[in-house]
Symmetry: C2
């Protein structure tokens, strides 16, 4: 078999001839960017063949002179029957892939933001019972005595024990005078035992809430005996390297070994985060006996190893919307393997469980005629509009910009992230503040919104997002005809490199906001409403600890409405997942919401492109839609 030597890592691997080089890099664990998922459209997976022969089809995608110098796209290149030496060109360090340090990110869901009516009633419960000693006379096995004690003291239903519990029960009922802590799930007609410990451990009852975003994964460790959030951890989804959005991931997953790779990547992210979250309160991960997970339909398909292909192909039919009764061990979540995992139900291929979870944090579907809007601004933007009578959902593709993804100096809302910026109108100099009041490391979503709005209001960028090259400023640098704005110099930055935002990145952000705004207005148009008809607008997303709503209006991400109508609820998907974990009533409400919701396909509307193009300016081509922004631009602010 041909052997490939990768430089500069010196890793080697044997592959059969015909193997795609991109697959070989993954197999050899050589890191390489392929944000489009190997479709040959992003031109990121560039490699150089130093020795050996390959079969490549990169012409037209890479310039001819690059190809002449041995550069190729790994996704368009197949190994032939010869040994290879392949160089992976040095590129900027992948910030998104780096693990966010444990202490960095306890910001995600604040208990104070949670609904007031939550009653602690988790699916999994803990009980203390006492099991009598074995007797020759009664002829009862260990399990029989435990069952009788449970049926007498707790629940008369049939008791179901998994094999792992049966294996350890003999010693447990014979220690601590037969005092036993049972963790179990009560169902209609049965009582499923999840864990058995000797002694009384009813106060050590933990669960984990997991939110799987396309870009960001967040977990939260919960004390299920008090509903207290013990710790929160976030990290970029380790799948990012295989494609930035769901469509790229679906494309990437077309080979079954790549589907398995994506599954393992997200599990790696999740299990790392769980270990980190359990480190500080020092909880053994195998004593976490309950879990709830939310994610969009593609993320859940990839987590479960379900072929996502049909999500992308007409008629866009996923394998499953409502997943029931899975155990952590089956999925690969490294907590107690018998733990029941509640997965938030999806509505369709493009409206997933993250939305049905997020809606739990709103009053959108409660007893009122008032029409409310829920906006979840993630890599996919999802919108839900409704009241007690109707619930409509739609989705649009925004990209990861508002989570700091796909932006060189972007980062998650963690220690060192610039979260707010002011611009000096005369000099263009930025003054900023960071999470944790430390030297800046990068910029998170709320900082990006703040930056863009202030650059626009101070006339350093125009309505098309172009930096003002007429006004001289040391903070605007032009290199290779590309302009970029310097937020912080190398000396100020904790990374010893300047923190900047390029015009191309600004374009990406404008495209993202345009997608979301135009989807909102199109959806309203389709139901015969205006923005003014909305009573409340709930905004969810991974921007940071807060979002400057006024500035979000300035860039035209949000409609120009009285600020009191907006409610920023942060990572609503994670918060809703928390609610599901601690309350069966919320779980029930979520299942009902999912059934009530109707999915609208926006892209089939003929005015879709028109709406989107109109929104590709700051704040919008139609100034009348943003009267207060016009006032700001004219006058003092």
């Amino acid at each position: 078999m041909p052997v490939i030597l990768f430089k500069p890592s010196q890793k080697t691997i044997d592959v059969s001839s015909g193997t795609e080089l991109l697959d070989a890099t993954h197999k050899a664990e050589v890191e390489i960017d392929s944000p489009c998922g190997g479709k040959g459209t992003c031109c990121q997976c560039i490699v150089r063949i130093i020795a050996g022969e390959v079969d490549s089809d990169s012409l037209g995608l890479l310039p001819k002179n690059a190809i002449d110098n041995g550069y190729l796209l790994a996704c368009r290149t197949k190994v032939k029957n010869s040994h290879l030496t392949v160089e992976i060109p040095k590129r900027d360090e992948i910030k998104g892939g780096k693990f966010v340090e444990a202490e960095d990110d306890a910001f995600l869901v604040h208990q104070e933001l949670l609904p007031e009516d939550v009653k602690l009633n988790p699916l999994t419960k803990r009980f203390k019972i006492s099991v009598p000693e074995p007797q020759l006379e009664d002829g009862l096995a260990d399990i029989d005595r435990l069952t009788r004690a449970l049926q007498k003291e707790i629940c008369e239903r049939e008791i179901i024990y998994p094999l792992s519990i049966i294996r350890k029960i003999a010693d447990i009922v014979r220690s601590e005078s037969g005092n036993v802590t049972i963790t179990a799930i009560e169902e209609k007609d049965r009582f499923n035992v999840v864990e058995v410990n000797s002694g009384d451990h009813t106060d050590q009852h933990h669960g984990i809430a997991i939110d799987i975003g396309t870009t960001t994964v967040a977990v939260q460790l919960i004390d299920l005996s008090t509903a207290k959030i013990l710790s929160t951890r976030t990290d970029y989804n380790n799948q990012l390297i295989c494609g930035l959005d769901v469509i790229s991931r679906i494309n990437y997953a077309r080979k079954s070994e790549r589907l398995e790779e994506l599954r393992n990547r997200v599990l790696k992210t999740i299990n790392n985060l769980i270990r980190q979250a359990a480190k500080n309160p020092q909880i053994k991960t195998d004593q976490i006996c309950s879990a709830a997970i939310s994610g969009n339909t593609t993320m859940i398909h990839l987590l479960l190893g379900l072929k996502p292909e049909y999500i992308r192909l007409e008629p866009y039919t996923p394998t499953i919307l409502e997943v029931l009764n899975l155990k952590a061990g089956e999925i690969g979540i490294e907590i107690n393997p018998e733990a029941c995992v509640q997965i938030s139900p999806a509505v369709g291929s493009y409206v997933g469980g993250d939305i049905t979870a997020g809606l739990l944090c709103t009053d959108i579907a409660n007893d009122s005629d008032e029409v409310n809007l829920f906006m979840d601004i993630g890599t996919n933007g999802e919108l839900v509009i409704g009241n007690q009578d109707f619930l409509l959902a739609c989705a649009c593709s925004a990209g990861p910009a508002f989570e700091g993804g796909g932006i060189k100096c972007g980062m998650l809302a963690a220690f060192g992230a610039i979260e707010g910026i002011k611009i000096d109108r005369a000099t263009g100099k930025a003054s900023y503040w960071t999470i944790g009041n430390v030297k800046p490391k990068g910029i998170c979503g709320s900082g990006i919104i703040s930056l863009l709005a202030n650059l626009f209001l101070t006339d350093w960028i125009d309505a098309a997002g172009k930096l003002n090259r007429q006004r001289k400023s040391p903070y605007i640098q032009i290199e290779d005809r590309q302009a970029k704005y310097i937020i912080a110099s190398a000396e100020e930055s904790s990374t010893d490199e300047p923190i900047s935002l390029s015009e191309i990145e600004i374009e990406n952000i404008i495209r993202a906001k345009a997608a979301i705004y135009s989807a909102c207005s199109l959806m309203l148009k389709q139901v015969g409403l205006n923005f003014d008809d909305l009573a409340n607008i709930y905004i969810a997303g991974g921007f940071g600890r807060f979002i400057d709503l006024e500035k979000a209006t300035v860039i035209g991400l949000l409609p120009d409405l009285p600020l009191e109508k907006f409610k920023y609820i942060g990572n609503a998907s994670l918060m809703g997942t928390y609610l599901v974990l601690i309350s069966q009533e919320y779980r029930q409400r979520q299942l009902e919401l999912a059934k009530r919701m109707t999915y609208m396909e926006l892209s089939t509307d003929p005015s879709y492109m028109e709406q989107y193009t109109g929104a590709l300016f700051l704040p919008h081509t139609d100034g009348f839609r943003f009267p207060s922004v016009q006032t700001m631009l004219k006058g003092e602010w």
Copy 2:
């Protein structure tokens, strides 16, 4: 770490100092006999230290001169901090460990012997349904469409899918025009899907019945659409090398890694047999979607990896009697991992599921006042007496002799086994017949009974089982003061070695028959009955295709009663397991039988030893108990 070199195999292994040498042999996969399970009582695991130092405590167990020559017991020897060279003395080939060839053993359960009232109604059923194509409009996922089709055509209950099925469903519902074969189990309130295939495979519905004996394991492949037995395979239990009886195995399992070893050994035997059984009708083992297993309580504990220790210790309490709801994949049975495994319920530590299975093949507990006896003659002998009003069970330890175990030339009832013998009164020469009419390879249980009875009736052995040394015969050989009887010469035998039975082996057989007979008469005594009060006696066991009942009476294994009262039902445990597999009514009957049965402890009866000692003769010290044998001995027969 010390390195051990084993001779003559030249296998080497690293172990930490302090390791028991017996463990090291198993770890190095060096075959060594330890029938007592490492207790130091059988003195079989003899090794010789050629080089290096060990810590041994074999004195008193081995003669001093043996120890002086370097011989030790592996179970009494620990590795010190020095490299070792250890010789495993050559011993007779372990016949029991050899795999019985595929074609050899289709004899075990004859369909003609099955009860007449069996209605085909297996737990697992197959259905053909048609799943509509995906539609954009209905918003139904693949699983939703499948569920609706199932609920409409088959069963309105909640449908439960395991993750492995969810993973493959997308492609299945999109092929063969949506025609799908579902294998599923209907429960009270739910419908558990076990397998989904595309197309119509309702006629390919298979199950496997497994009987795990202490000595012998048997499996049977069943066509669940017709109840036809497709193939039967048997082999010695691969655990044999770790102890001949259940107590030795329990002792052996005291270390947790040895429990795991025992579990893996029996799984290896079972999975080998399943592959063999599936070879001839060419069935893919992962398409076997149903299983039923019977075994004594210890065998089931070992199969499931449950600590068997408490079975042996007062008050003899097992972990579990009735195991429900396990899947093949959890246990390690290599068929479809989602297949439900029905395990026969046990009554107590010494009356297991093999008995509740075996009773299904009898009328013992049916609507009659007549008292019947069920004898299962295996390594443990189990006895059940009862009628419509009572059911009493007891157990005794017999050893593996009647299955050919623990006897040099013993073998299972397979091709080449001597199953019947006549002895020339004058010369002592044996004439015999074998299964398959081929050259003899060894002797099975029925042959052993026939041989012993005929040697006794022709005066070649006495009532104590000693060979008659006064009468000269070339068929009696004496070596080292040990006498043995030559059944077949090396030339006659297919193994090129003579087939013989030694006096020590005869003693073992007499002890086995004495244990069984004395347990029978003690149990009858305890309920105030005599042998004459019995209407029917059902005899089960692994003797072979048949048992010569008259000869079994001659040696005093069976009581001296009119022959028409006896019914030989062969491997009743396997047959009962088959009944459970094909009929839920039989499964229900079995669960009820287990609940009705009462366990009697015989060993606490003060007359136990007296009964046993009296039975240690051919046929018995009390000749009046065997009047017809007396007649035979006096007169013509």
